[in-house]
């Protein structure tokens, strides 16, 4: 089958002796190693690859460089894969996309016949009468939307991410990039050279520079072998530099790896993208860019067809014609949009020598499709009159492929993301890029150089500038190529019957763009949004210039004034697998985690932490929780509170600092005592609470809530950055484990294992703090009563957590100690009337609303939020957090967030509620409008299903209001 391939030196990238079998659209094909899907199919005379987005038109490759959406095919778990990038592998199964019926006979292609009824932005213009009908149309359109099919059963492997630093990152391994790399390496820079193609060389691998004295093959080998030999240059091929982010933070995608590169300097040697000519049916399979034809022959050794027609507005068309002749492929002639140059041109002579006819000053009226509509079979051409084809006198060229050479746009996307501005000179139809930041540079054709010597020299200059300073090496004047104009200014040939495609992705024709401006959408961004030009998978790579030209023409402006739309990252499509990486979602476990699992804990998420909700089986949830609660009330329980935040504050100003940041008073706090600490912000909103333990005159250990500690810590750092008090603040949450032993027997159990701390009431009263040892481990004990029983909170270095837990469980064995979880703790604290910040407070709660006036030290000269509280105090209280009770425990239990109503008016909501096993009634906390807060007032709560239950406002604590349980003499 490789008989059809062109002989070497054509076919640079294929291994002629290695056959690879694959299938496309269910048919078996054979290609060669090194072939892409598209080139292998072309070698098998299969040019049709896909169907277009809107009209389902047949499409083949345009660029053969992975830059157009025509080559999108379906691979297993890889929809929208580029057939001209993906290399074939043995057994590969590729499928075409977006057709109904078969690829060759797509029923939906009929739509194209109705194109005249589907003007630009047609969906805004209809489908909405009568009201509501759009919902039905939307379903119809949705069925037709999209290209490839996502495999929903796909369980993805995780892609990796790596990091790389370098002095100079050079993007593009063509002549400019190679030369630039060598120059930078010679100066001793650590160079990273990235190229998206399978091999280095860029245009040296396929382009016709037309200089027989210096064959590209030798130039390519010289440069590449020098690069490969350099120890300062690392090269990544098959690697797409996919964006530019601030401070030269550049993602490079190679295979299944995202390489995040931080470069001192970046040089964009990204080359240029060839642009199509615009004429009727210019999208037929068999119509290629000149660069695509050269790639097809030079890289893969595949002839583009048998008889080719060249349509061009620059000399690239002539060079392609000569290459075709050299390969023995017939060329039926060259249609040159330009008038015959009076001075002649060597390329004209060379082409004439080959016997090729040239039609100067001619344009293309239309391309002719084969009977099955799936390939080009000819073009109608005619003389140009003021840029338009004279349709009165057309002649037809029969051909089976067409080569378009109309001009280039610099591959400006990355440079633009870096801040570069793309400008266009209407007189010469030449682009340039300026205003790049100092840490970026340009080299080669992206910088406007076309002559191969100029390109190489500009690459060298770019390296010099990057390493020394801008302008140090002096600018390079383009020698030009015989004053060659690379861009033909108006390769656009409108046809009365349309179908001259401007944007292949979105099936947009000349009239669509022009009519958008006539509808009033004149700004280039509005044209884009109204017509969807440039929104498809190729992001306007081949439409931006034509759209700008059409808009400029229609609005009487220059192309320079019109401009192009913003080039946003990424440059090429990237899988979410690349940027998603391994997905590091932190999971924090306490030192006793495995003990909880052994004890049968059901775990719950608390921020990043996992905590035991309760111990037992999920189906007996309520019974388990109530049993745990009862046990704490009657005997003794142990709970892991390691997730509580711990912050150390040390220094001569420690007390002053706490005095300013918390609402309470701390300066007179005795050493060995803990105080409740309430944190509010400048708006008076309650942020967090904890206890502040004074371990030494200059040393506090402050606790914070599990979810709040990180922001408390941040806020402390922020404030002290202003106050500059003498102290250190350390977040030691992870350094300590903590557990709370609570219940009437807590002291007895603890006294068995703690010898050097006196635990009796007189020596260690409520809210006392002591340090000592347990089994040789240094511990801090705090006598707190969150759950409303005699209790000791034990804090110790976290690595001893499991051992300390075991010791306490063992010591409590006779007292029948039991672990309890977060749910029981929540119930117990509610019985005791303690709030949980974040559950019983919201983003508006102030201390007055939660009836915590007692926690405010109003005589202090200052604390954060003080001024706001003074203002708030002058106003009537709007809402209050009250305790409520439903005496009949058989009533439906209100859930947290159920509404409190007065008639149909919302007057509050429940924040906490349980059926209390201790009190044998339903108790809870609720915000209510201040008018409803008086004790004894009856409240109506709307519970699940809409039923209403009656509750009564009662004082808190619900349990042990006199605090007797905290003081249990041993």
């Amino acid at each position: 089958m490789s008989d059809s391939r062109l002989p070497p030196p054509f076919g640079l990238q294929i291994e002629r002796n290695r056959l690879v079998h694959f299938s496309f659209d269910g048919h078996a094909f054979t290609g060669l190693e090194g072939d892409t899907i598209a080139s292998a199919l072309a070698a098998n005379d299969q040019w049709l690859l896909s169907r277009s987005f809107k009209y389902h038109r047949p499409r083949g490759f345009l660029t053969l460089a992975g830059q157009d959406a025509n080559t999108l095919v379906q691979l297993p778990a890889n929809p929208n894969a580029l057939a001209d990038v993906v290399l074939i592998t043995e057994g590969l199964e590729a499928l075409p996309q977006n057709f109904s019926g078969t690829l060759k006979r797509d029923r939906s292609a009929l739509l194209g016949r109705f194109a005249r009824f589907l003007p630009v932005a047609f969906y805004y213009k209809a489908f909405f009468r009568p009201r509501g009908i759009w919902q039905l149309w939307a379903r119809f359109f949705r069925k037709r939307a999209g290209l490839g099919v996502i495999d929903q059963s796909f369980d993805p492997e995780r892609f990796t991410q790596t990091y790389r630093h370098c002095d100079v990152l050079i993007v593009g391994g063509g002549p400019a990039g190679l030369a630039s790399s060598l120059e930078a390496a010679a100066a001793g820079a650590d160079v990273l050279l990235v190229d998206e193609n399978a091999a280095l060389g860029g245009s040296l691998n396929y382009a016709e520079f037309g200089d027989p004295s210096a064959p590209e093959g030798s130039r390519r080998e010289t440069l590449i072998s020098a690069v490969e030999a350099s120890e300062y240059i690392e090269t990544f091929t098959g690697a797409v530099c996919n964006g530019w982010f601030a401070d030269n933070w550049v993602p490079v995608i190679q295979g299944k790896t995202l390489i995040k590169v931080r470069a001192q300097k970046v040089i964009f040697c990204t080359g240029s993208l060839e642009q199509p000519a615009i004429f009727r049916n210019n999208d037929l399979p068999g119509i290629f860019l000149s660069s695509a034809v050269l790639r097809l022959m030079h890289l893969y050794g595949v002839p583009p067809g048998h008889h080719g027609a060249i349509v061009c507005g620059n000399w690239e068309g002539y060079r392609a014609a000569l290459a075709l002749c050299r390969a023995g492929i017939s060329v039926v002639g060259i249609v040159d949009f330009r008038p015959r140059p009076q001075a002649g041109h060597p390329l004209i002579d060379q082409v004439m020598d080959c016997g090729l006819p040239i039609w100067f000053d001619h344009g293309v009226d239309q391309a002719i499709a084969s009977n099955d509509q799936n390939h080009v079979v000819g073009i109608d051409i005619g003389a140009l009159d003021c840029g338009a084809v004279d349709r009165g006198n057309l002649s037809r060229l029969h051909c089976d492929f067409v080569v378009m050479a109309a001009g280039f746009v610099p591959t400006y996307q990355l440079a633009a993301q870096a801040g570069g501005r793309l400008t266009y000179d209407d007189a010469s139809a030449v682009f340039s890029i300026d205003q790049l930041p100092d840490n970026c540079g340009l080299g080669g054709s992206v910088n406007g150089f076309w002559n191969i010597e100029d390109v190489i020299e500009d690459g060298v200059r770019a390296a010099k500038e990057a390493l020394w300073e801008k302008g140090a090496s002096g600018g390079l004047e383009s020698r030009g190529l015989d004053n060659e104009r690379i861009n033909f200014p108006w390769p656009i040939f409108a046809h009365p019957r349309g179908k001259e495609f401007v944007d292949f992705d979105e099936d947009l024709q000349i009239a669509d763009i022009v009519n958008a401006t006539r509808d009033g959408y004149e700004h280039i961004q509005l044209v884009k949004r109204y017509s969807t030009a440039g929104m498809g998978p190729s992001q306007g790579r081949h439409s931006a210039l034509t759209v700008a030209r059409l808009v400029a023409d229609a609005t009487g402006k220059s192309v320079a004034e019109t401009g192009v739309t913003t080039a946003r990252p990424p440059f090429a499509a990237e899988q979410l697998a690349h940027t998603g990486g391994r997905g590091f979602f932190l999971a924090r476990r306490s030192a006793m985690h495995h003990r909880h699992l052994e004890l049968g804990a059901v775990m719950l998420q608390a921020g990043a932490w996992l905590r035991p909700a309760f111990y037992g089986v999920p189906s007996e949830r309520r019974a388990c929780i109530e049993a745990e609660m009862r046990h704490v009330r009657r005997a003794v329980g142990l709970i892991d509170v390691s997730t509580l935040g711990g912050i150390e504050i040390r220094g001569p100003d420690a007390a002053e600092f706490l005095n300013r940041i918390y609402t309470g008073g701390f300066k007179k706090q005795p050493v060995g005592k803990a105080r409740y600490a309430l944190l509010i912000n400048e708006a008076g909103v309650v942020l967090d609470d904890g206890v502040a333990c004074r371990l030494h005159a200059d040393h506090y250990y402050v606790t914070a809530t599990t979810g709040g500690v990180d922001s408390v810590y941040r806020s402390m750092l922020k404030w002290n950055a202003q106050w500059r008090l003498q102290l250190d603040i350390a977040n030691v949450t992870s350094a300590y484990c903590a557990m709370n032993i609570a219940g009437p027997d807590a002291r007895a159990v603890l006294s068995r294992v703690v010898q050097d701390i006196a635990l009796d009431e007189a020596a260690f009263p409520y809210m006392g703090v002591r340090t000592g040892h347990l089994g040789g481990v240094p511990i801090r004990l705090i006598r707190v009563g969150f759950v409303g029983e005699l209790g000791f909170e034990l804090h110790a270095p976290q690595q001893f957590g499991e051992a300390l837990w075991d010791r306490l469980m063992l010591a409590g064995k006779d007292a029948n100690i039991r672990p309890f979880g977060v749910e029981a703790q929540r119930g117990l604290r509610l019985e005791k009337g303690h709030i949980i910040v974040g559950q019983d407070t919201d983003a508006m709660s102030n201390p007055f609303q939660i009836q915590m006036d007692w926690a405010l030290a109003r005589k202090k000269p200052f604390f954060v939020g003080h001024r706001t509280l003074q203002e708030l105090e002058k106003q009537p209280l709007d809402r209050v957090l009250v305790g409520f009770e439903i005496e009949d425990i058989q009533q439906p239990i209100p859930l947290e967030s159920h509404l409190v109503l007065d008639g149909e008016g919302m007057i509050g909501r429940v924040t906490s509620c349980i059926a209390s096993p201790t009190l044998n009634s339903i108790i809870g906390l609720a915000y209510v409008d201040a008018d409803y807060a008086e004790l004894g007032r009856s409240l109506t709560i709307k519970v699940e299903g809409g039923a209403r239950v009656s509750a009564k406002v009662v004082p808190t604590p619900f349990y042990d209001p006199k605090n007797r349980r905290q003081v249990m003499e041993s």
């Binding site: 805004y124 995040k260 499509a573 899988q575 983003a843």
Partner: protein, 413 residues
């Protein structure tokens, strides 16, 4: 084939209908100058002209029509907010949206596909129940749904118990919808221009003239305009423009990024959002997946995109929909969100007489476009603040009467 399109196919010449004012010189005086031709500015102009007959109006913008946050938001429409003031306001907005295409004669392509917000913690369930209860009470369709119901709605969602953050429940908002965001601003601007409002693009406000505590004119790059009333509707630059009139707004501006994939065949119907994992995903009628999340962590006016945020959004998306690993990102962009202390907008009077504020639109501006336009127009026309937007006046920050929506916003735009 709808009849509306027949004229395009049957006529020889394209029946162009100019939607917006052609560029012409600025007049020296207008009754009203609206700074910002985004969705809000255009809607204000539309209702001024249509409802109140006020047409000597200049709608000016430093860029192009709808090129600010109207162009950059992810087109989510919903009303499942938290406060009574908020829910009522957005509820009325959704109602106006429902009729907008037919009112305009211009299809804004609104699709009611519903919004599902995921709870991964009992704290989230609490806050969702709160929203559901308030919403239902005020006639907005919101309900707490369990895992089975979620499975039925979004069968391909990752409901594994072994996920890092297993889905526990969801808040289903049947009124949740999307619309073509550009079409909304174009429809409003078109309706305004048809009634005589002048649209001036590429016209930048550079200063506000205030005399005796009263606004008298706007200085632009195209000259000075005298006027009786100025409305600022410049989401993303509210505090900057406010400053020109000497008004200090309690606003910090943060970038908010989003991204979109290539088009794929439809597999996701509702909008799915997870405040905990910080991501939301919906699939457009073109087949693209639109992905957004939380704001950038620092204030900034630049609309640059960052790699970090793309990585965060991607990783979070894969938590919810692991198979989307095969989807390809097409484009990433950023807008600027003007965040207020209570996550609610600022609408109404300002300390400068006849200078009205339509600001602080954070991540909730698009969904409020119709109602804010209507209310602000009423304010301009009557000089009285309509009851519906009274709670959102700037004054509330001085009176400690904030409208707290912090719980209803994060990552569910």
């Amino acid at each position: 084939m709808p009849f509306g399109l027949l004229k395009y196919g049957l006529r020889k010449k394209y029946p162009a209908e100019r939607h917006f004012t052609p560029t012409k010189p600025l007049k020296s005086h207008y009754d009203v100058v609206i700074i910002g031709a985004g969705g809000h500015g255009s809607a204000i102009a539309y209702y001024l002209a249509k409802t109140h007959g006020i047409t000597k109006v200049a709608l000016i913008d430093k860029g192009y029509l709808g090129g600010g946050n109207t162009a950059r938001n992810t087109a989510v429409i919903r009303s499942n907010y938290l406060t009574e003031a908020g829910v009522k306001f957005y509820r009325d907005s959704v109602e106006l949206y429902q009729n907008l295409s037919n009112e305009f004669g211009y299809n804004i392509m609104m699709e009611n596909r519903g919004q599902l917000t995921l709870a991964h913690s009992d704290a989230a369930i609490r806050s969702f129940r709160w929203r559901a209860e308030v919403n239902q009470h005020l006639g907005v369709r919101s309900e707490l749904v369990d895992r089975q119901a979620i499975k039925a709605m979004v069968p391909n969602l990752n409901l594994s118990e072994n996920a890092r953050f297993p889905v526990l429940a969801g808040l289903w908002h049947a009124d949740g919808a999307t619309a073509r965001h550009d079409a909304v601003v174009w429809g409003y601007a078109r309706g305004a221009c048809q009634r005589g409002v002048e649209l001036h693009q590429l016209t930048e406000a550079q200063g506000i003239d205030v005399e005796g505590g009263r606004v008298v004119g706007v200085r632009t790059n195209r000259g000075r305009i005298r006027c009786g009333v100025v409305v600022q509707a410049v989401a993303g630059a509210s505090s900057v423009v406010g400053q020109m009139a000497g008004i200090k707004l309690p606003i910090h501006s943060f970038p908010l990024q989003a991204m979109v994939t290539q088009p794929y065949k439809p597999i996701l119907t509702p909008h799915v959002s997870s405040p905990h994992v910080h991501v939301y995903v919906h699939q457009t009628s073109r087949g693209e997946f639109v992905i957004g999340g939380g704001s950038d962590p620092y204030p900034l006016y630049h609309t640059r995109a960052t790699l970090d945020q793309k990585e965060i959004l991607s990783a979070a998306t894969l938590e919810l929909f692991p198979f989307l690993a095969q989807a390809k990102i097409l484009r990433q962009w950023a807008g600027t969100t003007d965040m207020t202390p209570d996550y609610s907008p600022i609408m109404g009077l300002s300390p400068v007489e006849n200078y009205y504020l339509d600001a602080g639109w954070g991540t909730w501006g698009f969904k409020a476009t119709p109602i804010s336009g209507k209310m602000m127009a009423e304010l301009v026309a009557t000089g009285r603040v309509p009851a519906l937007i009274e709670p959102f006046e700037l004054e509330r920050f001085y009176r400690f009467e904030q409208v707290n929506e912090a719980g209803a916003t994060a990552a569910s735009h």
